[in-house]
């Protein structure tokens, strides 16, 4: 059987196995799959541009050629300086990859928290998770005795995950009233615990001495030190978390009604909530561990995606991930170029775009349904 025949067979099988939804079942976002593909292409374009821009500008086409020439299967002739390979692979690419992962992680965990708590303003920052993750990371940086980056590369996300999980557990317990977790108490508890974590972080910061420079850079969301170790350390957190959220995206849709209705429709509510919280916390921790506190991505990306593709998490989560990655890569591009050769902290750029959008959402919340 030739390769063409196998591909044809797979294509036909794919066509018949999947039942096309009738038009009435998917009026929301007429062509979601097409839309996701277009946005994905856009994100790739941003990534190429972002990889090319820096102290030495490398045009996107050259970027593609250089990248391809380093892959084993492609024989591409590149008439570019040999230093380009090192610049792209050792400096630019890991940074862009880390920024993209972070953006996707913050956006997906924001989407999940908003759905789970039925609150359009929920995001990793509002419910204190990010602050807890930050405390864990800062604690790990402060406590580390060795300067070996390879050890701390894995220690920091782990500590940040533990910090985030402890925060979620505490917020969840404090926010419980009787048998349920009303959004109001949850967010109030989140703000309180988040403030506590931030205060503790500040205290550690003041006691630090020399390490303070690293921590300050971390707090403001900087990527100057980003290398492949950071990408390798963050990727498992982000990817496992994202996979878990995606697997539970259908029950998450039902939780948008309320917990009792979801249970009546056959959802194991306790388990779904636990998995979603752990997954969203994993991704948040992974993101915060290396990028510090970057606000508003978890708010802007999910809502923009929701406006375009509707509330169904099976489509919303992938689009929000792409949107978050693209948004943060653009923000990073700005952060690197606006006052070059100096860098703006990434958190400053996202806040500059995010804060007005947040206010717009607040205004809109009075008369519109978000979900």
């Amino acid at each position: 059987m030739s390769l063409g025949e196998i591909i044809l067979a797979l294509y036909v099988r794919g066509k018949t196995a999947r039942v096309a939804a009738p038009p009435w079942a998917m009026a929301n976002g007429a062509r979601p799959r097409m839309l996701i593909i277009i946005v994905a292409l856009g994100v790739v374009a941003i990534a190429l541009l972002s990889t090319g821009v820096g102290s030495v500008f490398i045009p996107p086409l050259t970027v593609i050629k250089v990248l391809l020439s380093h892959l084993p299967l492609f024989q591409v002739q590149v008439d570019a300086p040999s230093t380009y390979g090192a610049i792209l692979f050792d400096i630019r690419l890991p940074r862009v990859a880390l920024v993209a992962l972070t953006g996707a992680a913050l956006a997906t965990s924001g989407t999940a928290y908003q759905g789970l708590f039925r609150n359009p303003l929920a995001d990793p920052y509002l419910i204190g998770v990010a602050a807890g993750a930050g405390l864990g990371a800062i604690g790990a940086i402060a406590l580390r005795t060795t300067n070996s980056l390879s050890i701390s590369a894995f220690l920091v996300p782990l500590a940040s995950f533990i910090g985030a999980l402890a925060t979620v557990a505490l917020v969840y317990q404090l926010g419980r009233v009787g048998g349920s977790t009303p959004t109001t108490t949850l967010i109030l508890a989140g703000v309180a615990v988040g403030s506590l974590a931030t205060a503790l972080s500040t205290f550690i910061l003041l006691r630090l001495g020399q390490q303070v420079v690293h921590v300050m850079a971390f707090l403001l969301g900087g990527y100057s030190a980003a290398g492949w170790e950071a990408v390798v350390a963050v990727a498992p957190f982000a990817l496992i978390g994202f996979a878990l959220m995606y697997v539970y995206s259908r029950p998450l849709n039902l939780l948008l009604f309320d917990e009792e209705q979801a249970r009546h429709l056959g959802v194991n509510v306790g388990r779904v909530k636990l998995v979603i919280i752990v997954a969203a916390t994993l991704t948040t921790a992974g993101a915060v561990a290396f990028s510090g506190l970057i606000g508003f991505v978890g708010l802007v990306a999910p809502h923009a995606a929701r406006l375009v593709i509707g509330p169904d998490h099976r489509r919303l989560l992938p689009l929000a991930a792409l949107g978050g990655a693209g948004f943060l890569m653009l923000a990073d591009l700005l952060a690197r170029t606006v006052i070059a050769p100096e860098e703006l902290p990434l958190g400053v750029v996202t806040a500059f775009v995010g804060a007005p959008f947040f206010l717009y959402l607040l205004r809109r919340a009075r008369n519109a349904a978000f979900f």
């Binding site: 009435w24 009026a27 259908r250 429709l265």
Partner: protein
């Protein structure tokens, strides 16, 4: 056949249901009545599995419901909630399809069969024309019809299956009289087609007109369970609601028609 046997349930230490025994058959609408806090919602929640019984059990077609897993139970029992806060951006079609959740394999997508059943549920509730609209844009009456359609899609099983249960928790409480009547006509039709329908409701006259039997609760106890003409009497209403009522016979249907007696001549005042 739904058998509720010596059912008791509690919220913490507060007793919500006390030794309730009821039988409900396929084809009939059983109305659950009583004053606020009498245990109407608790009874429905105990049947749907949201409230664990402290004593007694609920049997559906001979199977103890507390032994079933969440999704297996969801295939047997659907609940239409009181007009709740709905995630308004979903379309009617999407919401009705959600009724098929307990049948879907983990990670699986809806099959052609599921789409067919959802479509039938839309047709049955006359919500087909709304299918592409967002539920947030609909009126309260339309939203309730959509929730009934979702419930129908949920408990539509294979042909020849045992009767399934439709629970309505004051499903028409916020609707005007025209939409109330339309919903109850629909509910009665659904019952006649082989469902067991149990509905908590406040309106005595709607209950008289559309329920085949009425359960009257007071303080978590069952006062009486009988035909409307036997339950809606001044005496039972006095004991359940602490009101004094005049009951006359409906000139067209012969069902009881309940009106409140004016305060000055109420039994309550006389007793004092």
């Amino acid at each position: 056949m739904l058998n509720i046997e010596h059912l008791s349930a509690a919220y913490g230490k507060r007793m919500a249901l006390n030794d309730i025994c009821i039988e409900a058959r396929a084809g009939e609408v059983v109305g659950v009545m009583g004053s606020n806090g009498a245990g109407k919602s608790s009874l429905l929640r105990a049947i749907s599995g949201s409230l664990a019984p402290t004593q007694g059990r609920v049997l559906l077609n001979g199977v103890d419901l507390s032994r079933l897993s969440v999704d297996v139970r969801a295939r047997q029992i659907a609940v239409v909630p009181q007009s709740s806060r709905l995630p308004g951006a979903f379309t009617v079609g999407e919401v009705v399809l959600m009724g098929r959740t307990p049948y879907l394999p983990f990670l699986g997508a809806e099959s052609a069969h599921d789409y067919e059943i959802a479509r039938a549920a839309l047709t049955r509730t006359a919500t087909e024309v709304l299918a592409e609209r967002r539920i947030g844009e609909l009126s309260g009456g339309e939203q309730q019809r959509v929730l009934i359609a979702r419930a129908l899609a949920q408990i539509t099983g294979d042909t020849g299956a045992q009767p399934r249960v439709l629970l309505l928790d004051e499903a028409t409480a916020h609707l005007d009289i025209k939409h109330q009547a339309a919903i109850w006509e629909l509910v009665r039709q659904l019952a006649r087609s082989g469902l067991i329908v149990i509905a908590a409701l406040h309106d005595l006259n709607l209950a008289a007109q559309y329920a085949d039997r009425l359960v009257l609760l007071s303080g978590g106890r069952l006062l009486v369970c009988d035909r409307p003409s036997q339950v809606l009497t001044p005496d039972w209403l006095w004991r359940a609601y602490d009101i004094s009522a005049t009951v006359i016979t409906h000139p067209l249907y012969g069902t009881p028609l309940v009106t409140l007696t004016q305060k000055g001549e109420s039994k309550c005042d006389r007793d004092l």
